[in-house]
């Protein structure tokens, strides 16, 4: 059963009652919330995700709930709850769904040290992973959404999980997070995309989430082997250009975006070095021409 099989009322009853258990790639999250905004966003962007039955092990139990106290009548706030989470600053109630998504990111990044985790979008074609490590402002999520719109399979728009025993990439397909101008850009580029309502004035600006295609969610147990590491550099009005990057430089760039490389010690080094070794690495400059960008990546993935 998938979330989309449930009626809005069913979704609400689960979210407010025992919790809605959603399978996210290798993980199961039990989500609890009374926020209507969370309910409608889950309905919109998690529709294709499988529901896990209550007998199955849930990895994370999270809640987005109103803060108590008199203040809630003046300025409604929501907070994120998780076993073992640090106390955090509540956010305006209107940001409940982004808070859930950020909170889930935090859960994975802080606890899934069985993987080597890279802050990078990752998509797949022909079994090979295209990893886009993300320096801030690189336009990684926009590129990721555009690639997924044109048939690349979404593994993750935020976190590349590398299996330290096998060296391959484990999919964690979740809604793609878009910011500010990207929301309209992707809206035009991918008119069929299903998005959650735009949330304004978050600390990251305006935020919307895109439902991942069913084909990506359905194949979330299929891993991908290392394929390409591409460092995107967005600069307005720059011509689209894909240039080879040395492996040493690629290694250091991936390292700079690794969440828990140092936790794995020598093994982390070996796993990452093998990954870079098995990938082709490039630097990609683009000025916002997504069609040209997709062409460049499609050419990369075309068998010789």
């Amino acid at each position: 059963m998938i979330v989309g099989d449930l009626s809005p009322v069913d979704i609400r009853q689960r979210l407010e009652g025992p919790g809605l258990r959603i399978t996210l790639g290798p993980l199961v999250a039990e989500i609890w919330s009374t926020s209507r905004l969370v309910q409608s966003a889950v309905e919109a962007v998690y529709a294709g995700h499988p529901i896990s039955d209550s007998g199955e092990f849930a990895d994370f139990h999270v809640a987005v709930r109103s803060t108590g106290g008199i203040r809630r009548w003046l300025k409604p706030l929501v907070e994120f709850g998780f076993d073992g989470a640090p106390p955090v600053q509540p956010l305006p109630a209107g940001q409940a769904f982004p808070l859930l998504e950020w909170g889930l990111n935090w859960c994975v990044a802080s606890h899934c040290h069985q993987y080597l985790m890279i802050h990078a979008a990752v998509v797949e074609r022909a079994g090979r992973a295209l990893v886009l490590p993300a320096p801030p402002g690189s336009g990684k999520s926009t590129l990721c959404a555009a690639l997924v719109a044109r048939g690349w399979r979404l593994l993750s728009d935020e976190m590349t999980l590398i299996d330290v025993d096998r060296g391959d990439v484990i999919p964690l397909p979740r809604p793609i997070s878009l910011k500010n101008r990207s929301i309209d850009i992707i809206g035009r580029f991918w008119p069929d995309a299903i998005m959650s309502a735009v949330v304004h004035d978050t600390i990251k600006g305006s935020i919307a989430h895109v439902r991942p295609p069913l084909a990506s969610v359905d194949r979330s147990t299929e891993r991908a082997v290392p394929g390409w590491i591409v460092l995107p550099r967005y600069k307005p009005d720059v011509a689209t250009k894909l240039e080879p990057l040395s492996k040493g430089a690629a290694f250091m760039q991936v390292l700079a975006n690794a969440f828990n490389y140092s936790m794995h010690g020598r093994r982390g080094f070996e796993v990452l070095a093998d990954f870079v070794d098995a990938s082709e690495s490039f630097e990609f400059s683009y000025g916002g021409d997504l069609e040209a960008a997709i062409d460049a990546f499609d050419t990369l993935a075309r068998p010789l």
Binding site: S246, G248, F251, M252, L255, G265, R266, F269, A273, D277
Partner: protein
């Protein structure tokens, strides 16, 4: 004339490295740090790692010159010394007074 102290790798058993073309990426388990070494620095470190009991500067220059295909080792001296100083700062290389 007093002999110059030999150079050595600080913790050879703690070092893991990968060489791609001329670049060396080094993991040092003793400090937990990872370094990206330019071609010459990489050759100097490999020379130190292959001489765990230490190697004096002139011999080191020769090893590096041979590895880099440079006929006159003396030409490399300033650069190798600079690389050694830098690696000493990173706790990769050390020069212990004999």
């Amino acid at each position: 004339m007093s002999r110059a102290a030999p150079w050595r790798a600080v913790a050879p058993q703690a070092i893991a490295w990968r060489e791609w073309d001329d670049e060396l990426v080094v993991y040092d388990d003793a400090t937990g740090n990872t370094h990206h070494l330019a071609p010459l620095g990489g050759k100097v470190l490999i020379a130190l790692l292959t001489h765990p009991s230490g190697i004096e500067l002139p011999a080191l220059l020769q090893v590096v010159a041979d590895a880099a295909g440079i006929p006159d080792a003396r030409l490399l001296a300033p650069n190798v010394e600079e690389a050694l100083t830098e690696m000493a700062g990173l706790e990769l290389a050390a020069c212990d007074p004999a």
